[in-house]
């Protein structure tokens, strides 16, 4: 019999009944590395299987749940601080962890996140940024080059850390870089944002799914892939369903010009986490690499996983900016690395 791993438990929590005590070593370490410990606890609790877990293992799970609850409360507290400080006319859209948490998406339970991701419209970006600075969020010291790189090409300002509380705010004006191959004009999703409380918004459920899919490809970070694909799985499960709802999701992705990326991400999430009958999204080359990179994750010495990780990293750069910008950027980074010259 094959040993049961982390992804088996997330997909079919009933498997926990055939987990022997020694199997938990790998499961807990894998969950810790891929930041899925709290969500694993939530999954097992939701399936009423928590009591079947050894007490020693529960100590690890309970800590992750507490950490997740506390971080999420702290992040929402920061959101309110920001909301109060800004002109009420400025709309704030929460993204990623904050959005899942504020809209009580199922994947928010036990989810580990640390940054506060918010989005405002491009024309108030500078105003909001200077307000954040006056509230104590410090812009990082960047070289002139890096600073121009962010200002000119990116969809967010460099992450800002609070001088006293050390919380990090990522301020966006779009969900992907304006120079990206698959740039989505923000008006497309601003039209459909949902207001949760006075002045605080989230993307529509379908757009949250699309952002999740696009983000995991755009970041090219294999360490968080397993978690991001799990988010995608739960969001699809909750908001459109794995059977009939997929076509409307892909239709919206097509409308936004990101169908192929979303399809790859959905196919990867499907092959790792979906159970039973699904709408069968065909897996293309990108989807296959996502699966390999996610499953191998940060483990050292696994060649296939590292190769898949590299390919994803290269692809993420490829879609982030056109070659005429990317080539000089990579050359510049290489030059800095060789010379150690940081100006």
């Amino acid at each position: 019999m094959q040993t049961i791993g982390l992804t088996d438990l997330l997909r079919l929590p009933e498997c926990v009944l055939s987990v022997v005590e020694a199997d938990w070593n790998e499961i807990i370490e894998h969950a810790s590395q891929s930041q899925l410990m709290g969500q694993l606890a939530a999954r097992l609790k939701q399936a009423n299987l928590y009591d079947d877990i050894p007490k020693a293992v529960r100590r690890h799970l309970e800590l992750a749940e507490l950490t997740s609850r506390q971080r999420s409360a702290a992040a929402m507290w920061e959101v309110n601080v920001i909301r109060r400080a800004l002109d009420p006319k400025i709309r704030i859209v929460l993204l990623k962890g904050c959005a899942y948490s504020a809209s009580a998406d199922e994947n928010a339970v036990g989810r580990m996140f640390s940054d506060v991701d918010i989005m405002v419209q491009r024309d108030v970006l500078e105003t909001v940024e200077s307000h954040l600075i006056s509230l104590g969020w410090k812009p990082p010291r960047l070289s002139g080059y890096d600073s121009r790189y962010y200002r000119n090409w990116m969809h967010e300002v460099p992450a800002m850390e609070h001088v006293r509380r050390h919380t990090v705010v990522d301020l966006h004006h779009a969900i992907n870089p304006p120079v990206s191959r698959c740039y989505i004009s923000p008006s497309n999703y601003w039209e459909q944002v949902v207001e949760l409380s006075k002045g605080i918004y989230v993307l529509s459920p379908v757009d949250r799914i699309i952002h999740c899919a696009l983000h995991l490809i755009q970041e090219g970070e294999s360490a968080k892939l397993l978690r991001d694909l799990y988010d995608l799985n739960l969001l699809i499960d909750q908001h459109c369903g794995w059977t009939t709802g997929l076509s409307s999701l892909l239709h919206r992705a097509n409308e936004l010009g990101v169908q192929s990326q979303v399809q790859s991400a959905v196919s990867a999430a499907q092959s790792i986490y979906a159970k039973g009958d699904t709408g069968h999204v065909t897996k293309d080359w990108l989807g296959s690499y996502l699966v390999v990179a996610a499953k191998v994750g940060p483990k050292k010495g696994a060649f296939a996983g590292q190769l898949a990780g590299l390919i994803l990293l290269a692809y993420s750069h490829f879609i982030k900016m056109p070659l005429r910008l990317l080539a000089p950027h990579l050359l510049h980074k290489l030059y800095i690395k060789i010379t150690g010259n940081k100006t």
């Binding site: 005590e21 020694a22 938990w24 070593n25 807990i28 370490e29 810790s32 590395q33 050894p54 020693a56 293992v57 100590r59 690890h60 309970e62 800590l63 507490l66 950490t67 506390q70 409360a73 702290a74 940060p298 483990k299």
Partner: protein
């Protein structure tokens, strides 16, 4: 874990386990599996963890599967050792001679991290008659020396580094571990307690020269900790040539000081604050300046009674 104690296993056998599938060690309520290819760990572990339950082959679930791995250095640097738990390496690699201190620091980090659901205070703690005596202090305040002197003279050692207070009951959990002594305090403890087991001092660590004292066996006999909570909180302050000076301090002041030394204030939030405030309100609190170890231990023995 198995019914054998680490002291019953020979050093070469311990080294074989460390190089192979791992050596199981029960520390308080935590189960550890230690692996290392450095060859520097078997001797100090056998000396210090003599009375701890151990296992020569892995079995069941371990809270920490720890790896201390030799890293080949460059031509002029020499080999180093790296600490790893579940892919986390919280410390930079250190010279091979510091393998054992790195193990102790790493295990402290593991225990402090996993105990996050309880209040975890950076402080020495000993117990008598079910009541804990907590001794927080900055490096150099002499808390470890004082802790060693008390633990070797009848107080039960709970920890020289981490005071873990239950969020629900206020009891102090014991995770007894070797006591680390720095620089001058090594000779002080050696001359005061000639029978105590100490490791060979390791020089030039980031904390200076350190040696570890084997925890006296009573520390390991009952693993329940101080179930009646904290009786006394003493903030020791070592100052050369000072006469013993005792100053009672308010609960509010003691609470503020303890919060400064608590690792997970942010994680526990309001609940953590309230629980700790409740615990401190039950305790007598003092700031004590001293230069002579005999003076302060004599004062503690008469004052800190249940």
């Amino acid at each position: 874990m198995g019914s054998i104690l680490l002291g019953e296993i020979s050093a070469p056998d311990i080294d074989r386990c460390l190089r192979g599938a791992g050596l199981g060690l029960q520390v308080g309520t935590f189960r550890c599996l230690v692996r290392s290819d450095t060859g520097c760990l078997a001797e100090p572990l056998r000396l210090l963890y003599r009375d701890y339950p151990a296992a020569t082959s892995p079995e069941g679930f371990y809270d920490f599967r720890i790896l201390l791995k030799k890293k080949r250095g460059n031509l002029w640097g020499g080999s180093k050792v790296e600490f790893e738990w579940a892919g986390h390496s919280p410390f930079p690699p250190l010279p091979l001679a510091q393998t054992h201190p790195l193990f102790e620091w790493g295990l402290n980090w593991c225990v402090a991290t996993l105990s996050g659901c309880h209040t975890v205070i950076h402080s020495a703690v000993v117990e008598r008659d079910g009541r804990a005596l907590v001794m927080p202090g900055a490096p150099g305040s002499g808390k470890s020396t004082l802790c060693a002197a008390l633990a070797l003279a009848g107080w039960r050692l709970l920890s020289d580094e981490l005071t873990i207070v239950s969020q629900t009951s206020g009891a102090v959990e014991g995770v007894p571990r070797p006591i680390s002594l720095k620089d001058g305090s090594i000779d002080i403890i050696r001359s005061r307690f000639p029978a105590a087991d100490l490791t060979q001092p390791v020089v030039d660590t980031r904390k200076g020269t350190i040696a570890y004292v084997r925890p006296p066996a009573p520390a390991l006999e009952i693993c329940t900790g101080a179930d009646k909570g904290i009786g006394h909180i003493v903030f020791p302050r070592f100052r050369a040539d000072a006469a013993l000076a005792v100053e009672p301090i308010s609960h509010a002041m003691a609470l503020a000081e303890l919060l400064e030394n608590t690792f997970n204030v942010g994680l526990l939030g309001v609940d953590g604050f309230q629980s700790l405030a409740g615990v401190v309100a039950q305790a007598e609190c003092y700031a004590v300046e001293y230069s002579d170890l005999s003076d302060i231990t004599a004062w503690i023995d008469t004052t800190c009674k249940p």
